[in-house]
Amino acid sequence: MFLEAIELKNYRNYEKVEVSFSNGINIFLGENAQGKTNLMESLYVLAMSRSHRTTNDKELIRWQADFAKISGRVQKKNSSFPLEIVLSKKGKKARFNHLEQKKLSDYIGHLNVILFAPEDLSLVKGSPSVRRKFLDMEMGQMSGIYLHHLVQYQKILKQRNHYLKQIKQGRKVDEVFLDILTEQLSLEGAEVLKERYRFTKRLETWARPIHSEISSHKEELTIHYQSSVSVQSETDKDQLFTDLINNFKKIKKREREQGTTLAGPHRDDMLFYVNEKNVQTYGSQGQQRTTALSIKLAEIDLMKEMTGEYPLLLLDDVLSELDDERQTHLLKAIQNKVQTFLTTTSLSGIKHKLIDVPKIFRITDGQVEMESE
C-alpha cells in the first residue's frame, strides 16, 4: 500500500501543509527541532489513531489552536480511499472514506505502518511491557479479531482487579461472582495467548534468515513467548483456558492478599535468544541492534503475509545510526517494494547513492519544501 499525499492542519508545529509522496523512498531532511519527527508521527497517528510518543492527544494540537487535522489518501491494490483523524479538546474522530468510525477496531488496519526509531532498541533491552505493547500494536493492525479480544480482556481485567482490591480491603467475597470474572478473563486470555504465540512463531520464521544474513551467518536468532502457562503450537484454546483457570486456583490466596490479578497475558513476555543466550542479558550492543533490526524487517514480510499488502516503513533517525553493512542490508530489503519515509539531519551519513531516485523534502520550522525528485 502507498500513502499518496497528506494534509496537516494545526498539527504540532505545522500550521497547514500539503505533501505528495513518492511510492519509493521519501527523505525528510532538516536541522534539529524543525519538525521531522512530528511529520513522521503524523503518519503514524493517521494509521493507528494514536501517537507512538505520547498518550496525551492534546500535545499533538498546535499550541493556541483548538483542533488538529490529519488527512491522507491511501492507495491499495484494488482501491484508493481517504483517511482522516481530527483531534480536539473534546476527543478524537476517525474517518474512513468520509465515514466516522466509532470503534477503533473498525478504523485501524486500513493503513498499516511499521515505525523504527532509536527507542526501538528498548524492544530488546527494555521491560516486558515494551514487548507486550509491541505485540498488541502490531497484531492489532493486522487482526480486528485480536484487537477485539484484547479490548475485552482489558475490560474484564480492570473489573477483576477492582473486585480483588475490594476483597483485600475487607469486602465479603461472592465466590460465584469472582469465579465468573476469572472464567471470563481466562476465556479472553486464551484467545489473546493463542494469537500472540502464533504471531511470535511467524515473526521468528521471518526474522531468523534476516538475522543470520546481517550477522554474516554467525548468529542464530530464536524467539520465545513466555507465559504463566505453557504454550506450544499444538495447544488449543480449550487447553489454554483450562490451564489458565487451574493456575488461578493455585495463586488464589496470593491474589486476594495483594488485591490484583497476578497472571495472564498482561504479565507475559517475549524473549530473544542469540545462539541460545538471552540477548537482553548477554547480548552486545551490536547484537541487540541486529536483533531489533531483524524483528522490524521481519515484520514487513509478516504484515504482507497476513494482510496481502506491504506496510509503510517509517525510519526516524535510525539509518545514520546503522553501520554501512546494516544500512546496505536494510536498503536492499525495502528497495522497490516498501514505501519508506526516513529522517536525517544530513545526507552524508546515509548511503543515499544506494537509493534509486529518492524524493527529498527539506523541513524548516514547520514548512516542507521539495528539494529534488
Partner: protein, 198 residues
C-alpha cells in the same frame, strides 16, 4: 453577561439533562419565552407527572403507573417464562415485537466492581425470590453483549440453574433481516457464539 434570574434558573434545569451544555440550554430557555402558554404548562405538567405518577413495579422492577404493572397483572400472559433485561427501555423494545407472551424482570444495571455495583445493588434478590415463589420453568437472559452484561448473565445462570429452571441466553449479533454476507467477522462470530446454552 448576566441572565435574568428566571432564565438562568431554567438554563440550570436544562443543563441537568444529558447532552445539554450551556449554549444549548440558553437557546432552549430563550425559545421557551416565546412558546404558547398552554404548551409550556403541559410541558411542566408532563415533567412532574413522569416523576410523580411513575413508580417501579414491586414484582418485576419495570416502570409503571400502577403497582404491580399491567404486564405482571395480565392473567393471559405465560407465567412460566421470564426475560431478564438491564433497563426498562428494553422491555419496550421487546414488547414492540409483539411476540413474547411471558413476563419480564428489570435489573436496573449490571454487575460492575468498577462502578461499585454488586449483586445486592441491582434487582437480583427480587428475581431469586420470584423464582422461589412462582412456577417459573424458563429464564431467558437478555442482558447486553458487553463484558459486564455477559458476566451478569453467567452469574444469574449459575444461581438459577441448580434450582432446575431452564436458563437460556438471547442470541446477540445478527440483527433481524440482516444479510449474513454483509455482517462483519466479529458480528458473525458473536452470532455463532450466541447459540450456546449457558
Amino acid at each position: 453577561m448576566h441572565y435574568p434570574e428566571p432564565i438562568s434558573q431554567l438554563m440550570d434545569s436544562f443543563m441537568k439533562l444529558p447532552g445539554i451544555g450551556e449554549k444549548t440550554a440558553s437557546r432552549l430557555a430563550f425559545y421557551t419565552i416565546n412558546m404558547r402558554e398552554e404548551d409550556v404548562t403541559s410541558f411542566a405538567k408532563a415533567l412532574i407527572s413522569v416523576k410523580r405518577d411513575l413508580q417501579y413495579c414491586s414484582i418485576c422492577g419495570n416502570i409503571t403507573e400502577n403497582d404491580p404493572c399491567d404486564i405482571c397483572e395480565d392473567k393471559r400472559r405465560d407465567r412460566s417464562t421470564i426475560i431478564v433485561v438491564e433497563h426498562p427501555k428494553e422491555v419496550i423494545s421487546l414488547e414492540k415485537m409483539n411476540d413474547f407472551k411471558g413476563l419480564y424482570h428489570v435489573l436496573h444495571g449490571v454487575l460492575s466492581p468498577i462502578e461499585g455495583t454488586g449483586p445486592e445493588d441491582i434487582n437480583i434478590p427480587t428475581l431469586i425470590k420470584r423464582l422461589q415463589d412462582e412456577e417459573v420453568k424458563e429464564v431467558i437472559l437478555a442482558t447486553n453483549a458487553t463484558a459486564e452484561g455477559e458476566a451478569t448473565a453467567m452469574y444469574l445462570s449459575r444461581l438459577i440453574k441448580p434450582a432446575g429452571i431452564k436458563v437460556t441466553r438471547l442470541a446477540h449479533g445478527l440483527s433481524v433481516g440482516s444479510d449474513i454476507e454483509y455482517a462483519d467477522e466479529m458480528t458473525l462470530l458473536k452470532a455463532v457464539e450466541g447459540r450456546r446454552e449457558i
